[in-house]
Symmetry: D2
Subunit: 379 residues, 4 copies
């Protein structure tokens, strides 16, 4: 315990959903200990939040630069930083911590431009630092199980992938979704994309993580539908993968009745796999006999690599926080191994900066396709 | 009963699935009485089938032309003909009966070319004859209920429609699906399309019937995926409707685990409607409060126009045959009204030749889009 | 076709649900031809209904006795009669037809007293006549498949069976359910039981047919719950089977939201089977690995004996009428075999009078248990 | 944070599922800080576990008595203790902490005898101490929402309650379920009951908490089914409630395919509520129109009292740990209020020792009923 990891956070001030969620996820397994932060734009609010979180006042920082430098120079400085600020600030913050020699876990989408992302990767590589992008949904035991099924050839060659992530909370033209919605719909904070950046990158990443397929080209239709919006809120994208498989990725923010409905359906030459985030404790596998097998976390069939992340017996539902916690468990294991000099890249079982870059390139290709009138664009 | 309608059938010989299904559907409500037929290409087989069906030998015909002429000249001749032969023969057969003054019910897709279809329509219009195209799935009570909900404005303005009809029975490159599969996959019998003609026309029609939307343009990707096939077996189509709504239509024949999985999801400005053919006894309606309301046939909420087609109390499941029977119930009511001189077009509650033409134009636009490299084509 | 069976019907006048449903079910496969009837208590209404059904006036009878005698004496008389009158009239009507030498298909519950039932059985046996009791739900392909799975030992020794059949239509003390409800709730027409006779007999029969288990003893709690009712509307029954297995049978008429919710869950030493009438196209089978296998009609796994009753491909939903039709298909096959002298009892695949007797004995034991204060009573 | 609560734990040594789960649940919201423990029967193992959990060596105790006394005498002593040992040790442990003036949270079933439980209650009352019994499943947001719906009269007068909690993990006579199963099936550790104590008390509590109904009398059938077992593994219990409502409670440990399948179905005079623990993010509410409304955590309809426990937006699934965390959140709020002198019993939103006593009396009445041959026994 004395060698439990220490972490700091940038973002996650009072009322911020995602920062709080990351902290809760890390808490579950007591994976690391929060000891420093720059939670808000004002030092006052940061200290307020720090007090609530039990952080000593001298480790509540006025800005991220100061935090990176000071933490790097402490003997008991943070082992990694969690970056949960709006997207358009990720680049500078991550860069500061990398340059200070601190491992980084950053929320998705990584940055707003793939060149920035590649720059971050170059720094991390040069300095031998770990970089996780917290694509939550690949942390589910069932997501990992699907990855294992497919890499074992259980459904043969993949032929088409139907993936979607509709939400409904921004359907109302008279309601911008409060704090969460406001910045997503604001080009000055979100850049050129809204829905595709927020949801579409999860779709791209979930498909890639589960199937191992790489996107070759896209044909994107990005629409601004709800009156008064200026950024995309409905994206319908045709995809071709490098192995010749096809697919459709759909994301929406006005699909009334959809909460957080990431769904992936994978059709192979020997079987089908169905997964729905809101039923994240189960996978449906259909083999050539056409029988739908509903496999639940806890069934012996869940493979070893995936099942080790289970905390509770079958039927004692695990959910979103556990999925995020699984990412941090692997990340922390890697950070610890780094500290102890036992790190091996085979330990990595979380989404890295490469996945973050892939997401940005996907978004950029979609934007280009859409701007050119829905034509095919290579990724 | 003495004035019960009489009908004849072309196609539906021994072993033919769809002809038998039409007969069973008509039987349920005893809607009309089968009295004549040209069931097969040889008179011998037609007579064999006729005997099994209780048809007198002199009304078993060697070919459809003879049947049309002779039946038209009998006093007790058939009131309508049911055409359930392969698609590429529909045009000539339908034309023969229309020219003989006989109402026609024809299986979908109507013909192989929209000009032929318009020619048939011209004849029917000129002669004042009724023409039904048997798009089965719009006959469900729940399909009709959705149409009523939407036309009453219950979900506001439609924003996007996600529709799909995957099947899995042709997934295996070593199995062409037997008699049913063989002709569908054979260009000499199916023409230029397979999957899109068989399934895609149902999708187009179901969306049109439920929503009232008209397709403005399409961007189609039609793929030949299963090794050895020469016609499309997976179609992914972006759609724009005349009111500005968008949508995706997906059809496939290799989606293992999908039996007959026509699914329509309609997202409006005030609500969402979900419908799945394999759960055809229920509709999910979600209003702005986000609560999923599962409305079953038999609930009082099923509107008057739709509910009149119920035969059984709630929970006594009705299915595919009842859906087809509903089409024939309305068609027969119209034919009877014609005979009695009381016909009014407001009586029509079945898919007409105009829906048949719309389906063909949709297919033609998709083919053009695909051939041109997935570009937008106006319908 | 000329040798198609002829049948008559007693009951099923204008507005009667169940008579009409039997006719529609028989129509589907054109199993037999309705040629005679005594549909109502007045000859006038019988003739009215007969005219609608295309029956010649001289075969519309004033009473069932006359019908039995006259039909028995005709050369082209009916091959079997369908009895769909209220329960308390079944005994006399069935007896009249049996004594006239005519096979009988009678709705459930068979009669109101097991001694009457045994008397009918004795007559049928003596005269070599067939007698079907139309327990609809054992006609489903999936019901038959479950029977086959269990008799093949697929789930090992049965340990407990949880069966239930709640409905909700009589929940309202101010609404007696119209014509259908009124007679069921009236002791002068229903006898001593309402809910248990109407629904509980289906439960008992479904469990028996699927599992092969025989009830040894029951402990019944029969409650009259909705204010104003005088007969049971909620029955909760502990069951012990002869093999030592236990179970609970629950039926209710005030379970709001339940339409026709017959559900059987069978737990064995090697697996579990789940079946729900409102999802009658599928069976859930769980083996020792805990994976839920959802097997649909149309999957190859549906066994030969069960699958032969399929009319439509998988996903083309069959429902309640098809289930009833399956009973008549087997019954008609047996009647035909009788006529041709090829009958063998192995042909019987419908519920016989013995199942009808078992149902009555079950009801009688429950009544005794309830009257004695919920004690165990041997069946 | 400096005033964050401190807690200790008895039980929860290496490999113990439930102690770890309690710790994780408390961690999520950082509700309290673990500072002392007696985790195992040997001091060595306790210290080992303590080290892993970051507890200083001097607060790792050899036995619970010493722990109670020493912690009570420290100025920074624990605010409450969590007792997660086997049932038959709860009484003495809880007593020791209560007598030392420390609030108690104890796992269920509370003790093995209701008189012991009443003795504990008397001590707690006398000393003004709080006592929580951790019936996990009433902590779900949806459980609380159901309680609110019913107390607001949304489904009218409750008529019958069908409750069940089948599991399947002990189905195999050759597998005693490992460490977890072994003690449950062993009379020397579990007392007279196994399944009913482990699962049946959850059922009784869930129904009581949701409906407010009190059990008047029971008629219990407790069976030992799997060969080789000596304690009940299948319990089928008829219940009558004080308001005249009836119900059935079923629990099983051999129901293959059931993981943790606590299900409660509540039928009232104006509506029905359905709840299933494995789908704990949703409630089905059916009103008199028969439409099934699926209400999800996150829908506005979730009432204020229940909804305040939500951490994540709708669709970001919360599960078992969050449910347990909700109990501790309320308990900790009450403990804090006690410390600050602001406690009011209206703050209590967790299961108290009274619910624990009710559970034991229920078990005792069932045992008596079963021993007397399944007769009614007043609770």
């Amino acid at each position: 315990m004395s060698n439990r990891l220490r972490y700091g956070m940038v973002g996650g001030g009072p009322g911020a959903f995602i920062g709080d969620a990351h902290r809760k996820a890390i808490n579950i397994d007591n994976t690391a200990h929060l000891v420093a932060g720059c939670f808000s734009r004002t030092l006052e609010k940061t200290k307020e939040q720090g007090a609530l979180l039990g952080i000593s006042s001298d480790r509540c920082y006025a800005n991220y630069s100061e935090m990176a430098q000071k933490e790097a120079s402490r003997e008991d400085g943070i082992d990694f930083v969690v970056v949960v600020t709006p997207n358009n600030t990720h680049y500078e913050i991550c860069k500061a911590f990398l340059e200070a020699g601190i491992h980084v876990a950053c929320d998705k989408p990584l940055v707003t431009d793939s060149r920035q992302a590649e720059e971050l990767k170059a720094i991390a590589d040069e300095k031998g630092l770990l970089f996780m992008v917290t694509y939550t949904y690949v942390g589910h035991v069932t997501s990992k199980y699907i990855r294992d099924l497919i890499s074992n050839g259980e459904i043969g060659t993949i032929r088409t992938v139907m993936a979607e992530y509709p939400q409904g909370w921004l359907y109302n033209e008279n309601d911008d979704g409060g704090k969460q919605g406001a910045w997503r719909c604001d080009p000055s904070q979100s850049g050129k994309v809204n829905c595709l950046g927020d949801l579409g990158t999860h779709v791209e990443n979930a498909v890639a993580a589960m199937t191992g397929l790489k996107v070759k080209r896209v044909l994107a239709k990005m629409d601004v539908v709800v009156p008064g919006r200026v950024l995309d809120d409905n994206d319908q994208i045709l995809v071709e993968y490098e192995n010749g498989a096809t697919g459709i990725n759909w994301t929406s923010q006005f699909a009334i009745g959809c909460d957080n409905s990431l769904r992936v359906r994978i059709y192979g030459s020997k079987g089908t796999i169905l997964w729905f985030q809101e039923r994240c404790e189960e996978v449906t596998l259909i083999r050539e006999d056409g029988i739908s097998q509903v496999i639940r976390r806890g069934n012996g069939a869940i493979s070893q690599a995936a099942g080790k992340y289970s905390r509770l017996p079958a039927g004692h539902t695990e959910g979103w926080l556990e999925s995020m916690a699984n990412l941090y468990d692997s990340f922390a294991e890697c950070v610890s191994a780094m500290k102890q000099g036992t790190f091996d890249s085979g330990l990595i079982d979380y989404p890295t900066i490469e996945e973050g870059i892939a997401g940005l390139k996907y978004v950029e290709a979609c934007l280009e396709s859409n701007e050119k009138g829905n034509v095919w664009v290579e990724v």
